[in-house]
Symmetry: C2
Subunit: 426 residues, 2 copies
């Protein structure tokens, strides 16, 4: 498509994509598990077989990205190589090996009048995925949506369009060879930003849910503008609270891991809260462990009184997802103070309590309102794979439908199936 | 509040209500089951004890409604009497007797690294309920939301404001006496329509979900304008498909019940689809049974060929929720034709198949995409009470979060609680 397309052209193009996705979703909803898994395995085979074409397409994207002066981290995410392509096809094969959630009976009961009621998982319908220039998401998201019986509309970053197209061609090859509708996985073929705007309107009812995959500005725009439900987290402002009852060695090990294992992931800790009753026992060893691990500390006034020399934390620090080797540290008045601090600043993603006192753990679990709560474990476990859910399309912090890791099961809905023997309602 | 409030006044009032609801939701989320049930029982007692005040308030509403020339059906819905007030307090006692969904472990598993993961029900947060002039909804909705640990903002029809206020005062009395925050159940104290508009924006993040209760125009406005999730159905355009394998007596009984038991409910049937292979066996007896029951028939051309004399069905008829003793009747090409017709015209609420052939039933259950599917039973069972779920706040046709009857369980979310023994992520 040429660069002279108008807004009306984009609208018309996107509405057509929406209609085809909706049409494809109908047969897909009751497609055999075997057909879906066959399609997925053939997609993986096609990706392996098309490695050269994919690398060539990726080279075009990389060349243009360099010309546009894009940065090292950006280029790294955009870059494909043999190992990464093998990772993509392996990821699809793992999705093929997951259990099919569609058709699963979630609950079943019988009424006194003999009606037998079942609640059965069904696909959601059509999922829109909007992502940045990471070509692997084309395959991951396409495969996960298909596994759950959903049609998907993929809109990748414009800088990865050639790479995404080459991968998408392999996905379509798998669909065709397995006899599934080709429109089950569509890639938006233009790089205009208007295409994103059109998706956010829901394409005239064609999109049931939107999943943004990317940085805060992308997710923020989608959350602010979408007229359909969104599964996402804007940020992971995760807290670790160390209670006076905590085992100190365990606390040091967990705090360092929660912050430093990978600092750029949403489950990394951004704020350490230390019980005021633990100032004399836990605070300094924790600060030293972090410092030794190479972490910068932004300290509250109370922390600085005990251990001067750190950069003072501002109000802004409590609201900042550093995604870097930096942590803010505050003293709180026991579990109540920790709960209050988290209620005020958390992004409701993941929080951990390190404590041996069961009453403290119970309060933390009952009163902290975040998607994932951990006791005596690192916040870096906030991940669908670590939860045993298989691949995830992301982590959601909303409370509706999907909360926490969003895997194939979370990409489904359900309906009620009532088996009667002639019952009428009196 | 005087009638001269400005839009800015309303916005400020509503934002304050939202903030107070959000603040009340926090302690409510972990309130004891015993405290919530005590509050509910005391609310019921207060309603019984305040019968005279409630009737006096209702008399004021009725007087004004009559002055405004409102119709008989409207006045009937608005009218309270001793029996209806007793029904309201009894309804609240039944909600008190339901199991508390909050804190229930929905799933639990252990990971190879020893992490124990639980998925536990939590409240949704703050629910906005927008309803027409039915004073009983004030009590029903307030009690259901409280049971599930949610704060609620109630915005009833302006014509029932005095009645709703009198009932609301009883609810607050119960909250106070049980030591729960009074702001857990707030009634919007003004009748300005701008208050509804403010709620639909979500009150600056204070409202998690909106439940409209009322006719199509109210629900349509809420669905079109809400910037937060909505649990609702716009209409119940329910179908009954009678297969050639159906037992004729059972089919007659179910079709007449599905249409005629109560014609004004969302689960009443609006369209009868008859298998073309059953024209010689089932069609005329079904038409006669409906006619004898006092039902008007709007017939497709194919039906009229077999049985002339009915009013011909237009395209509009297939899209019409009559809510009256009228049914549209079409001949379809077996189960495939039934599935296609339903996919085209259904509101995805409730559909029934009458058949003895299990392959037909299986296709119907797998391929019809509606919240409730019934086999050999009347569509009028589409009701939370009939499902054994206790009181319902409504029926939802969306696929996100709550689908079908929305009872206390559907008014909850969940989170993950991970129990570790010092695990860090490698």
């Amino acid at each position: 498509m040429s660069d002279t397309v108008t807004a009306a052209d984009i609208d018309s193009l996107m509405l057509g994509i929406g209609r085809r996705a909706r049409a494809a979703a109908r047969p897909l909803a009751f497609a055999d598990t075997a057909a879906k898994d066959k399609a997925l395995r053939l997609m993986a085979d096609a990706i392996d077989a098309s490695r050269e074409e994919i690398l060539a397409a990726n080279a075009r994207d990389l060349e243009r990205a360099r010309e546009n002066g894009l940065s090292g981290a950006f280029l790294d995410r955009l870059t494909l190589n043999d190992a990464r392509i093998a990772g993509i096809s392996q990821g699809i094969r793992e999705i093929a090996a997951l259990a099919d959630p569609v058709g699963e009976t979630i609950a079943a009961w019988e009424r006194p009048n003999g009606l037998k009621i079942e609640r059965v998982r069904t696909p959601l319908g059509v999922i829109g995925v909007i992502y940045e220039s990471r070509p692997n998401v084309t395959a991951d998201a396409g495969a996960l949506c298909l596994k759950a019986g959903n049609a998907v509309i993929l809109r990748g970053g414009s800088d990865s369009l050639h790479s995404s197209r080459a991968i998408h061609a392999c996905l379509v090859e798998g669909l065709k060879a397995a006899g599934l509708p080709q429109d089950a996985i569509q890639l938006v073929p233009v790089s205009d930003r208007a295409a994103v705007g059109a998706m956010l309107t829901g394409l005239d009812g064609a999109i049931d849910v939107i999943v943004p995959r990317g940085g805060k500005s992308l997710v923020g725009r989608v959350q602010a503008e979408a007229r359909v439900p969104v599964f996402a987290h804007l940020e992971g402002l995760c807290h670790v609270y160390v209670d006076a009852s905590a085992d100190l060695d365990m606390a040091k090990k967990i705090v360092v891991n929660a912050k430093m294992r990978r600092t750029g992931v949403c489950g990394s800790a951004e704020t350490l809260l230390v019980d005021s009753a633990a100032i004399g026992t836990h605070l300094i060893p924790l600060l030293e462990a972090l410092t030794q691990a190479g972490c910068e500390i932004r300290a509250s006034a109370a922390v600085l009184k005990v251990h001067p020399g750190f950069r003072p934390a501002t109000e802004e620090d409590w609201r900042t997802e550093y995604l870097d080797a930096i942590i803010s540290v505050a003293i709180v008045d026991g579990i109540s103070g920790a709960i209050d601090h988290i209620a005020r600043y958390s992004s409701h993603h993941t929080e951990a309590v390190i404590a041996e006192d069961p009453a403290v753990v119970e309060r933390f679990f009952n009163e902290v309102d975040s998607a994932i709560l951990l006791h005596n474990a690192s916040t870096q476990f906030a991940d669908g794979g670590e939860f045993g859910m298989g691949a995830e399309i992301g982590i959601a912090t909303g409370k509706m439908h999907a909360r926490g890791p969003v895997g194939v099961e979370q990409l489904t809905s359900f309906n009620y199936r009532v088996h009667g023997t002639g019952q009428i309602r009196p």
